[in-house]
Structure formats: structure tokens, C-alpha cells
């Protein structure tokens, strides 16, 4: 058996340091160091901090940070296990070990665990800047006290702790930088939807560059707008310098992978709870989503519908982030905030009629997607629109539009105006097809806040018609439901394995 000479040198150097530390051993100091070591190395501390971190990340729905945290904890645990077994180093020899220990010495597992727990808190829960910087000092002080106690007790060699600190601090920090860079995924408690991406830093610069290179737009400013009404993308107001030197405002929607995933989960949940509605197909990629919306904007424009003029879309990060650009309706108000007179009601109903005639369904008719300017209705957010939809889907558009108008008027008046554009049977079919699931969330919550039972009133006004069934039971729905239950069970088992591997049990 050959031993590298450097191993002997390192061991002797470590022991020299430990012997020097041991010269200051006194009874009261030993008690103090045992208490410090017991408090910080206890299984409670080692599990409490990671579990609390996980709980806070789940509570704030910061799932990307959570995924990064779980992966980094697991990677570090595996790395430490491999190193521990490969190196197989004994505890300090020739000196009295005063504290409890377990397993090989190099790297020091308790030091790695505590450092990782503290760095995890700092980089997933504490906002960057002043608070994180203060937190770093506090974490460093805790780690210093812990390492000093373990050296005093001669439980670890100094080099065991150095290796542990390298894994638990700088390596972990680099891993957090790579997986959740602060520019793209800042830790913030200012509220707002998690679907909205931060458009500062590198992403902001990339947006300006992409719009210049790909769409030839000289951007002078980008700012978020209308965030409260949007959950599926990050809406932006884009200031552009025109060829004449004047400034134009455009509207942009930044789509990312998380929007696509949210859409998939949303549609999967609807499939399980209600049965798949006939035209609820999720998009396969972000690129497909923006291609589709851009194409529909052009189609609806050609059909004479009052939708924004399309300017194309730019690729921010291939297959991950795309920005679709369109006309910004300057001076337009959401229909909730605009006066709704007969002109507006008629115009809104004619928009639905035009969609029917053009063979298009908007599929997301709600107040935030209907703007009014100079008494004319404008339609936005066509991402979920469908071409050649079923009559059922077109009927739902009419019902949603009439409900939206009735919020600002009365069902009787809206019904009366509708009869000048649609047949009474069309209205009857619209409300026979109208169910809770077919009404967009915003419209549904506004209807709940309204004391009138709008749907029921419209049904009374329209000719009698049997309801159109929405709950569709088919083999696919049964299979998806069973698959989801199996996947949940598998996830529980895998999480249990993960907890064992990561040392969190």
C-alpha cells in the first residue's frame, strides 16, 4: 500500500494546528464549545433550516428556486458521500476528541450541511442587496463559531472544514447563480403574479437588442403594463423611435417556458375536472404559441376585426422566451371603466357577429380583453382564439360578450340589442352552452360580485332550450385521471427517496 507523501504532510500540519488549539482547552470553554457544536450540529437544526426553506418557497410559489434548492442540496449530498467514501479519512489522531462524531472526517459533513442550509436561505429567500449582504455576515459568523467549536473539540481536521466550506459556500453560490440568476429570477416580496418576468438586467438588454436586430425597432423604453389583468404572459409597453424621430408606443407580450407549462397544467386540470373541452389543446412550445398568436392577429385583422396591428415577434432566448409585438391602443379604456351606451353594446355584438361570419372564436372574452375607444370596441389577447371552431364554441363567445356587457348595463337591455344582430335562437343556444367552466375567471369573479343572476336572467329572456352538456367522459379523460394519480403516487415515492439521499429525513 503506497501513500502519497503529501497526505502525511497535510495530516501532520492539521494535527499541529489542532494541538495548538488544544493548548487553550479549559473546562468552561469545553462546555461552551460542546454546547455550540450540539446546537448547530443537532439533527433538529440540520433539518429545520432546509425544511423551513422548502416550506417558505412553496408558500410563496417560488418553484424555480425550490427546484434549484432541491437539486443543489442533493448534488452536494452526493458529492460529499462520494468524497467521504473515496478519501476515507480518519478523525484527528494523537489528540483527545472531545465531541461526538460519525463517519469519515473528510469533508466535514456537518459543516457542509450547515453552510448549504445558510447559503440556501440567503440565495432563495433573502432579496439581493443590503439584506443579503447582512445575511452573509451573519451566516459567516455562525459558520465561524461552528468551525471553531469543532476544531477545539478536535472532531474535524482544519482541511476537512476547508473542503466542506468550499462545497457548502462558493460551489453552492455558483450553482445558485447558474440555476436562478438574480437578473432573471430575483427574490422579491413585493407581490405580483409569478408569471410576470423581470425585464431588467440581462433580459431587458436582450429585449432591446432582439427588437432592434429582428424587427428593426429602435426601442427607447420598455416597461411592464397591465400586469394585474394578465396571468399568461408579461405585458409590456414599448416606446419606439420612428424614422421621423417621433416616438410610437407598441404593446408587447413576453412569453416564456413557465407560461407554457402553466397553460399545460391548467388545461390538464380542466381535462380531469371537467372533461376535455373540444378545442383545448395545449401548445407544444413557446415558439408555437407566439407563431399562432401572430398568425391569428394577422388573420383577424384581415377579417376586419378590431384587433391590434401585428408587428411580428422576436426571439429572446431560443425555444424559451419570445416577445410578440403589436399595436398599442393609445387612449383606449377597459370596458369596465368606459361608459357603455347603445353604440358600444351594438359595436361589441357586431364584433362577435363578424367573428362568427369569419369562422373565428376568440375564446377569452372578458372585460380586460375588451377595450373601448371613441365609442368603438377593440378586441385584444387573441392567443387562445380558434379558426373554424365548433358552433358551441362560437355560442360561448356570444354568451361571454353579453355577460360582459350586462355587467355595465342590464341583461334585458343587452338582450334587446342582441336581437338586432342575432336570432333569438342564437342567444338561446349561447346560454344553453354557457357553464361556469366556459366563462373566463375574471368575468366569473365580476359576475359573482354582481348581485344579479345574469346567466339565469338571460336564459329566462331567451327561448327555452335544453342545456348543452360540458362534462364529457371518455377513455382519454379516465386515462389522464388515472395517470395523474399514478404520477402523484410516484412523485411521493421519489420524494421520499430524494429526502433519504439528500439527508433531509
Amino acid at each position: 500500500m503506497s501513500v502519497p507523501p503529501v497526505l502525511g504532510i497535510i495530516t501532520r500540519a492539521d494535527l499541529t494546528v489542532l494541538r495548538a488549539v488544544a493548548t487553550v482547552r479549559t473546562a468552561w470553554l469545553t462546555h461552551l464549545m460542546l454546547d455550540v457544536n450540539a446546537a448547530l450540529a443537532s439533527p433538529w437544526t440540520m433539518r429545520l433550516v432546509p425544511w423551513a426553506t422548502i416550506a417558505v418557497l412553496v408558500a410563496f410559489r417560488r418553484f424555480r428556486h425550490l427546484a434549484a434548492y432541491l437539486v443543489i442540496i442533493l448534488a452536494a449530498a452526493l458529492l460529499v458521500s462520494v468524497m467521504t467514501l473515496e478519501i476515507g479519512r480518519m478523525r484527528p489522531a494523537g489528540i483527545g476528541i472531545l465531541g461526538p462524531w460519525q463517519g469519515y472526517a473528510q469533508p466535514s459533513r456537518p459543516v457542509v450541511t450547515l453552510a448549504l442550509a445558510l447559503v440556501g436561505v440567503l440565495y432563495t429567500l433573502v432579496p439581493a442587496g443590503r439584506w443579503r449582504n447582512r445575511g452573509k455576515w451573519a451566516a459567516a459568523a455562525i459558520l465561524a463559531a461552528f468551525c471553531a467549536a469543532r476544531l477545539y473539540l478536535a472532531v474535524d481536521h482544519p482541511t476537512d472544514q476547508v473542503t466542506a466550506l468550499i462545497i457548502g459556500w462558493p460551489l453552492a453560490v455558483v450553482a445558485f447563480w447558474l440555476t436562478v440568476p438574480n437578473d432573471a429570477f430575483p427574490v422579491s416580496y413585493r407581490g405580483g403574479r409569478k408569471a410576470h418576468l423581470d425585464i431588467g438586467g440581462r433580459r431587458g438588454a436582450a429585449i432591446v437588442t432582439a427588437l432592434d436586430h429582428q424587427l428593426g425597432l429602435a426601442v427607447t423604453g420598455v416597461e411592464p403594463c397591465g400586469l394585474e389583468a394578465s396571468a399568461g404572459s408579461t405585458p409590456l409597453r414599448i416606446q419606439v423611435r420612428g424614422p421621423d424621430g417621433g416616438t410610437t408606443t407598441l404593446f408587447g407580450k413576453l412569453y416564456a417556458l413557465n407560461h407554457l407549462r402553466s397553460d399545460r397544467w391548467y388545461k390538464l386540470a380542466r381535462t380531469v375536472i371537467y372533461g376535455r373541452l373540444e378545442d383545448e389543446k395545449p401548445f407544444s412550445t413557446v415558439r408555437r404559441l407566439v407563431e399562432y398568436e401572430d398568425g391569428l392577429l394577422r388573420l383577424m385583422r384581415d377579417a376586419g376585426l378590431p384587433t391590434p396591428r401585428p408587428y411580428g415577434f422576436a426571439e429572446i432566448t431560443p425555444e424559451r422566451e419570445y416577445l410578440i409585438v403589436m399595436e398599442f391602443f393609445e387612449g383606449a379604456q377597459e370596458i369596465r371603466n368606459a361608459p357603455v351606451d347603445d353604440r358600444v353594446i351594438d359595436d361589441a355584438l357586431r364584433v362577435v357577429r363578424r367573428m362568427w361570419d369569419a369562422g373565428i372564436a376568440h375564446r377569452d372574452i372578458k372585460p380586460s380583453n375588451i377595450l373601448v375607444r371613441d365609442g368603438h370596441v377593440l378586441l385584444i389577447d387573441v392567443a387562445f382564439a380558434a379558426v373554424r371552431p365548433t358552433p358551441w364554441r362560437q355560442a360561448v363567445d356570444l354568451a361571454d360578450m353579453m355577460l360582459t356587457l350586462a355587467l355595465a348595463s342590464t341583461p334585458e337591455h343587452v338582450y334587446e340589442r342582441a336581437l338586432s344582430v342575432f336570432a333569438a335562437e342564437d342567444v338561446a343556444e349561447a346560454f344553453a352552452a354557457c357553464r361556469s367552466i366556459t366563462i373566463p375567471n375574471q368575468l366569473r369573479s365580476l359576475m359573482r360580485a354582481d348581485e344579479r343572476h345574469l346567466t339565469g336572467r338571460f336564459r329566462q329572456l331567451a327561448p327555452k332550450r335544453s342545456p348543452v352538456p360540458v362534462q364529457l367522459w371518455d377513455i382519454r379523460r379516465v386515462a389522464v385521471t388515472a395517470g395523474l394519480i399514478a404520477a402523484l403516487a410516484a412523485a411521493v415515492v421519489l420524494f421520499d427517496i430524494y429526502l433519504s439521499a439528500a439527508g433531509l429525513l
Binding site: M1, V3, L7, G8, T11, R12, L15, V71, L74, A75, L78, S81, V82, L85, E86, G88, R89, M90, R91, A93, G94, I95, G96, I97, P100, W101, Q102, G103, Y104, A105, A175, L178, T179, A184, R202, A206, T209, A210, H213, Q214, E315, I316, T317, P318, R320, I497, Y498, A501
Partner: protein, 195 residues
């Protein structure tokens, strides 16, 4: 290269590459470990690797012998190596006795009451066996008692295979003299084992 292509290349490298690489590496490592394919080697020190045996010696500073793996017969593996200030324990698993590993434990003392003497396994070692049952399972405990320490082996085998399995695990675990380890550590690392 056009500016557009430059932008694409930059983003692939700067944002997507490291993240994908990190996640892929970690997932592969996790999968390899969780499925037992990582090949980290046996966790229990072999008798030919005295530097790793030192941690066992530190777990019971008085023990004059240390349990180690001499050679594992076909179908046997080790797991659960756990040295601490209270002693050392590990498991010997046989594919002929699934779910019933032999638990090997080194402690400073042990109680051998009711156990009968067996042929000693090393010079200066007293070996005892106590059978808890013979049928339907062949279960009990074997003790190697020596100055300053004791190694106990708890076994529970199905009838029929017990003779071969007993022979195999006794052959697998050797006893390494502490005095010899002390000399090796002094020679190789220049350190004294005990204070």
C-alpha cells in the same frame, strides 16, 4: 455572421448551456446513486486498507482487534458502514438471504451470557455462539471477544442454507490487530493512533 445569429449563439451559451449541463449532471449522478450503479466501491474497509481501518480503531480506542473485510464471497455485499464514537457497525448482505443481513457490531464490551464457546477466529480472541432459534429460522449471535473490545455478528438465515452462509460470513470478516495498524500509521503518516 449576422447580428441575429450572434444573439442566438450568445443566449444558448450564456443561459441555457450551464443550466442544462448542471441539471443533466446532477440527475445522472442522482440516478446512478439511487439505482446503485455509481460504483463507489465497498463501504466497509478491507483488511488490506489499514488507513481506512483507522476510523474503526478510533470508534473503540481500547479494542485490540478491528473487524474488516477479508474477501467477500460471491453473492455477498456490505452496506450501512457506520463508525462513530460509540462503536462501529455494518451489514453483510447475501443474495441467498434477502432482507436478512448479518449485522456486525464492534463495541468496547458485550454480554456473552448463555453463549457457548466456539473455535477462536484469531490468536487471543475468544469466540462464542448463542443460538436464538434453529427452526424454522437459524438465528442467533456470534461473538469475538478480545482485550478492550468485542465484535458481535447477528444472523438470521433460512434452514437449509445456514451452514454455507455461516462459513461464508465468518470467512468474509477478518480481525486486524490494532498494534499492526498503529505501526502502519506511524510509518505512512507519521501519526500516533491514540492520544
Amino acid at each position: 455572421m449576422t447580428p441575429r445569429r450572434q444573439t442566438r449563439r450568445h443566449h444558448r451559451r450564456a443561459v441555457r448551456g450551464p443550466l442544462s449541463a448542471l441539471l443533466t449532471t446532477v440527475m445522472l449522478a442522482a440516478a446512478a446513486t439511487l439505482t446503485g450503479c455509481a460504483g463507489f466501491g465497498d463501504t466497509v474497509p478491507g483488511c488490506g486498507d489499514p488507513l481506512r481501518l483507522a476510523i474503526i480503531a478510533q470508534s473503540v480506542p481500547s479494542a485490540s482487534y478491528l473487524p474488516c473485510i477479508r474477501s467477500l464471497p460471491q453473492g455477498w455485499s456490505t452496506s450501512g458502514f457506520d463508525p462513530s464514537q460509540d462503536g462501529t457497525s455494518f451489514l453483510l448482505n447475501s443474495d441467498r438471504s434477502p432482507g436478512q443481513p448479518v449485522t456486525v457490531r464492534l463495541t468496547a464490551t458485550c454480554t456473552t451470557g448463555g453463549a457457548g464457546p466456539s473455535p477462536p477466529r484469531a490468536p487471543g480472541v475468544l469466540t462464542y455462539t448463542r443460538l436464538g432459534s434453529i427452526s424454522p429460522r437459524f438465528a442467533g449471535r456470534l461473538y469475538d471477544v478480545f482485550p478492550g473490545g468485542c465484535v458481535s455478528y447477528t444472523f438470521d438465515f433460512a434452514l437449509g442454507s445456514q451452514i454455507a452462509l455461516m462459513e461464508q460470513f465468518e470467512e468474509a470478516v477478518g480481525l486486524y490487530p490494532r498494534q499492526q495498524l498503529r505501526l502502519v500509521l506511524k510509518q505512512k503518516l507519521g501519526v500516533e493512533l491514540n492520544p
